[in-house]
């Protein structure tokens, strides 16, 4: 549990005396990761096979993209429920541009943009939805969960409109239009490592750098730690909030591209209920729903715990109902443990001051 406001309380305590229980609590996500990994290695046949692990990493990467964006939002004390819809919308925008192109009736032509342009366009759509979320929260003072619940519907509606509810199948592009290559994102490999996993490594490094080592990152923690104090010490609170929702939108749009590319098709309902897994990974990784605390690395570990749990339970043939119940229990346990840790840290901080 390092980073931002939590650090100020935790650091001096740790130097004097560290309770072993507190140490265990702060490492709980890593312990959970080893526990689920060990459990499924022993119980699920073929769990340790290279193909299984590669597939697992690909599954995790999609949720991890969403969760990285979500971490920024939750650290400021907000929430983004629209990410699942952005996944669907971004996939539909990309699918539409590849399958049907961009018709320009006034010139009687249809443009088929290059795949790179398609990707940029889909990311721009995600940024746009994030911008709307951010403006609603900062300028119009709408509660984040209502604002993003509203845009959840707006973005899902837009995704349905792109195709009239149809699926865009077979998104391989056509050589004569020079728009081939979209499946590389989801199915390609470099030296045997899937492109989406490489993308995850790059995105996590960039996100961790911004969260931990830049003035922007400090401001994100400051806004979530104490908004009023941040405002009074000159942090542009509204701009920070606007940017975190845009980051979340872009991350979700990228996840949508990976999903569409993996399936080589885009469906308007794609991404439904993804928001819960993203929130789960974030909370599991030690990010406080109250804001102010959380790390990108914690979130990545959280995403792996959720992913291993999900894939492992499927491999063991556990019914979907119990999968949901187990995941729900894990999330609740994560929140309860987080509160325990906070209470202990507070108590030890008081002890350190008085004693």
């Amino acid at each position: 549990m390092s980073g931002g406001a939590g650090m100020a309380i935790a650091a001096p305590v740790r130097s004097r005396r560290t309770s072993p229980l507190l140490l265990l609590l702060s490492l709980r996500t890593l312990i959970a990761l080893f526990a689920v990994f060990a459990f499924f290695s022993l119980t699920a046949p073929n769990f340790l096979a290279v193909e299984t692990l590669v597939l697992l990493a690909k599954h995790v990467s999609i949720n991890a993209f969403l969760a990285i964006g979500m971490t920024f939002v939750i650290v400021t004390g907000g929430i983004d429920l629209s990410v699942g819809s952005i996944v669907g919308l971004s996939g539909m925008v990309a699918g539409g541009l590849i399958d049907r192109g961009l018709p320009l009736p006034m010139f009687h032509v249809t443009l088929f943009p290059d795949v790179a342009v398609v990707i940029v366009a889909a990311l721009a759509v995600g940024l746009l939805v994030g911008l709307v979320n951010g403006l609603l929260v900062t300028r119009l003072d709408v509660a984040p969960f209502i604002a993003t619940l509203g845009t959840l519907y707006v973005a899902r509606g837009a995704a349905l409109l792109v195709s009239g509810g149809e699926t865009f199948p077979n998104l391989v592009g056509r050589p004569q239009f020079h728009n081939t290559g979209f499946p590389v994102l989801g199915a390609g490999t470099v030296l045997g490592v899937p492109v989406s996993v490489i993308a995850l490594i790059v995105v996590s490094l960039v996100a961790a750098y911004f969260a931990g080592r830049t003035p922007f990152g400090r401001r994100v923690y400051a806004v979530g730690g104490n908004e009023r104090a941040a405002l009074l010490s000159g942090v542009p609170v509204d701009r920070v909030k606007l940017i975190v929702y845009m980051i979340s939108g872009a991350c979700a749009a990228f996840a949508g591209l990976v999903v569409a590319s993996e399936l080589v098709a885009s469906h308007p309902a794609s991404g439904e209920t993804f928001e819960l897994n993203a929130i789960a990974a974030t909370v599991l990784g030690g990010t406080s729903l109250a804001g102010g605390r959380g790390t990108i690395w914690g979130t990545i570990v959280g995403a792996f715990v959720i992913g291993i749990l999900g894939d492992g339970l499927v491999m063991l043939g556990v019914s979907s109902f119990w999968q949901m119940v187990i995941k729900g229990t894990v999330i609740i346990a994560a929140v309860v443990l987080d509160q325990m840790q906070r209470r202990m840290q507070r108590r030890m901080a008081i002890l350190a001051q008085t004693g």
Binding site: V142, A143, L160, G165, F321, M324, I332
Partner: protein
């Protein structure tokens, strides 16, 4: 009296004006909007109002509380009704206790997650909703009959003197809720809790039980709605409760209940439900595709909250 001040204290008036405007516009522009379609609008609005009145309890507890498990409860209760009743009135007697139990248990689970484990209501109820959806998925596999108990069918579809029975039910419910909120100590406790849980607690209000009861109300009303809805639509299907996720919250806030709690109006929620259904009907008559309908509903609710946020002082927990 200053009309602006009156509007600010009677926020349901906005929904009322909206209903009137759409009503006049629809009657004037389309021949299709007849007395028959009016009854259809009233029926849809009544089904929405039942869940929205429950949602209103959850929202009124304040602190940004909201019940997002309503769609899951509606769907699961519809499946339970269909499967357990087997299409007979005797079966319905078997199903009803289960339906009510679903509502009470889910409401209680939500309350425990929120109050004991201090998980934000939005996350807790969303997660519970997904678990319920998965339970419905399993129920769907056992689904064998489309027969509906005659008694339940009568309640959900009859039109005594041309008025839908379900409308009378929703009106009666709204009156009961209005009395509960406005004339009982529970109502005053609920508003006190919503305005400031800390202050209410210091004043001796049993904050935890008041909040828990509100979530149980929400669960039970959603469960009853699901049972009635299965009789009205002639069966249960997956995601049948889904539209109520946004609409239940929407009807509550459009009706003038404050999203941060502490003030609630049953009459406004009724009007809010009517307005949302009228908006959807307008779009259907205009032949707009489903995608646009989703977008407009999302936009209307955001717009109402944005207006409320800038016009009224917002309370944060």
């Amino acid at each position: 009296m200053n009309p602006l001040h009156w509007l600010r204290t009677h926020r349901w008036a906005f929904a009322g004006i909206g209903v009137l405007v759409l009503w006049v516009a629809l009657s004037a522009t389309t021949a299709q909007f007849s007395l028959a379609s009016l009854s259809g609008v009233a029926t849809s609005a009544s089904f929405l109002a039942v869940v929205a009145l429950g949602q209103m309890f959850a929202v009124a507890t304040g602190g940004g509380n909201v019940d997002l498990s309503i769609p899951g409860v509606v769907t699961l209760s519809a499946f339970a009704t269909m499967i357990l009743s087997g299409g007979t009135d005797m079966g319905l007697l078997r199903a009803l206790p289960v339906v009510l139990a679903i509502g009470v248990v889910i409401g209680a689970v939500n309350a425990i997650l929120i109050l004991r484990l201090r998980i934000p209501a939005i996350i807790a109820t969303l997660a519970v909703g997904y678990v319920l959806d998965t339970a419905s998925l399993l129920a769907n596999r056992r689904f064998t009959t489309f027969a509906i108990s005659p008694a339940l069918r009568t309640l959900a579809t009859a039109h005594p003197a041309g008025v839908p029975a379900i409308l009378l039910l929703a009106l009666a419910l709204a009156v009961a809720v209005a009395v509960l909120i406005g004339r009982t100590s529970y109502g005053r406790w609920l508003m006190a809790t919503g305005q400031s849980a800390t202050a209410a607690d210091l004043a001796g209000v049993p904050v935890a039980s008041v909040t828990a009861t509100a979530f149980v109300f929400s669960g039970v009303l959603a469960a009853i709605d699901g049972a009635l809805l299965s009789a009205h639509t002639g069966g249960a299907f997956l995601e049948m409760g889904r539209p109520y996720l946004l609409q239940s919250v929407g009807a509550v806030v459009v009706g003038g209940t404050l999203i941060f709690g502490g003030s609630a109006t049953a009459f406004g929620t009724l009007l809010g439900s009517l307005l949302l259904v009228l908006i959807v009907t307008t779009m259907q008559i205009a032949g707009l595709p489903g995608g646009v309908q989703d977008m407009v509903q999302g936009a209307v609710i955001i717009a109402v909250l944005a207006a409320a946020g800038s016009g009224l002082s917002r309370r944060t927990a």
